[in-house]
Structure formats: structure tokens, C-alpha cells
Amino acid sequence: MSASEKYVAAAYLVLFVAVLIWVAIIASKLARLERDAGELTELARRRLEREPEPEPERDEVGV
């Protein structure tokens, strides 16, 4: 492999590696968002269990 070939390969490899690093960072961010969303869903579910749903209003029907 000539010196030129090595440098050209290095330049294109830099771009490829940068894209891979970016994908890895985004994947870790996505994992954190998924974890946060899971925690919030759990929090909301526990809150709903603690506070029972209010009875729906019923119209009195006279006899």
C-alpha cells in the first residue's frame, strides 16, 4: 500500500469512525430516554393506583 493510499484510506476512515461514534452516542442517549420514560410510566401507574378514579356522575332518574 503506497503512502497516498494510506492517507486517502485514513481520511475516509475518519468520516466512517465519526459516524460510528455519533451513532454510539445517540444509542446511549436513546437508552437513557427509554429508561427515563419507563421510570415516569411506573411513577404515573403508582399514582393512579394510589388515587382511585372518581366515580362518574350519574343523572338521577325520578320515579
Partner: protein, 229 residues
Amino acid sequence: MLARLRHIPLPTLAAAAVVLMGTALALIFFYAPLDADQGLSQKIFYIHVPIALTAYACFGWGAAKAFLHLWKRSPGADLESYAAIHQGVIFGALTLITGSIWARVSWGIWWTWSSNQLVTFLILFLFYSAYFMLRYSVEPGPARANMCAVYALFGVVLIPISWLSIRIANDYIHPTVFTRHGPQMSGSMFLAFCVSWAALLASAGTMYRVELAGKRLDERLRELRELLA
């Protein structure tokens, strides 16, 4: 046209980036001829220059969004400006790295302070890198958004300076391919260059939209946490 681009679905944009990148690589290595002067090392041109132009486009987009934030108080413009500048810094770093590799193979050095193009681009890159220091040193809120928008607008002045520096100051080291007489290359080389630039613009657009979606989701989850607390 830019408004229409915003409505392209993200998977379509990502697929376009992949197809364009594949086409660009095929054109660069199998269609565009070898440069008579530089030989194989000239192939770096097809990614170095489009990456630099994409960095300029990202900084310009960030400044446009900053302007919209200050002028119309468009909701989300501050976050959009931030995401665009972030992409600009990523592409700016890639410009400096690929340029450095090209300089090593062409000129025998990794860097020279005597080239106006290199120095002005480095200043532009450092200026926008400092944007993040400003952003993360101020509490989130309208004051931070305004400060960041003003900073982003100041930086955009550096783009034409960087672009024109080699044309104004007779920079003999850095080559000038695009002159007043058009691109100084053959049609096949220019086609490979254009497809490569389109590929990088589509990639930058995809990355920008993904990052923006992540940031918006993060903000909404934070709001939800506050509401549930």
C-alpha cells in the same frame, strides 16, 4: 424549498443519505479520473471540501434559526439553532482532520499558520466550539436563549471571511478550485463532488433531525417528571 425539506420524513432522508453516500463513493473511486497533478491523494478533495461546505451550511442554518428566535420568538428556534451549531462543530472538526491528512500527503506538513483559509476556518471552529461553553454556563431560560442567539449571529460573519480569505489574500498554499470562471475540474470530477456534497448534506440533515427529536423528547420527559413530582 427549505420549508419543504423539513417535511421529508426522517426515514426517507436517512435512506437518501445512505443511497447518496454509496453513489458518491462509487463515483469517486470508479468514475472520477485520477488527478494529473496530485494523483490518488486528490480523492480526499471529494470529502474534505463537501464536509467543509456542510459545516458552513450548518453554522448558517444555526444562525438563521437564532435570527428567527430573536426576531419572531419562534418556539423551538433556540433548540434548532443549538442542534445545527452542534452539527456544524462535528463537521468542522472533520474538516480540520481530513484537511490535515490531505495537507500531510500534499504539502508534507499537518498544519501551516501561513494559510489564511486554514486559520480562518480554525477561528470559525473555535468560535462555535465556545458557543457550548456559553450555553452550559448559563441557567436554561429566555436569557440563555437570547445570549446564545446573539452569539450564533456574530459567528456567521466569519463564514464569508473564511470562504473569501484565499481569494482576497492570494493564498498560494491552499488550492482554489472554485473561481470566478467556475469549478476548475472536469465534468466527471464535478459530478462526483456534487453527489458527495449532497450525500453529506443529507447525512447532516438526518443527524440534525435525530438530535433535535432526542432533545425535544428529553425536554418533554423533564416536563412530565416535574408534573408528576
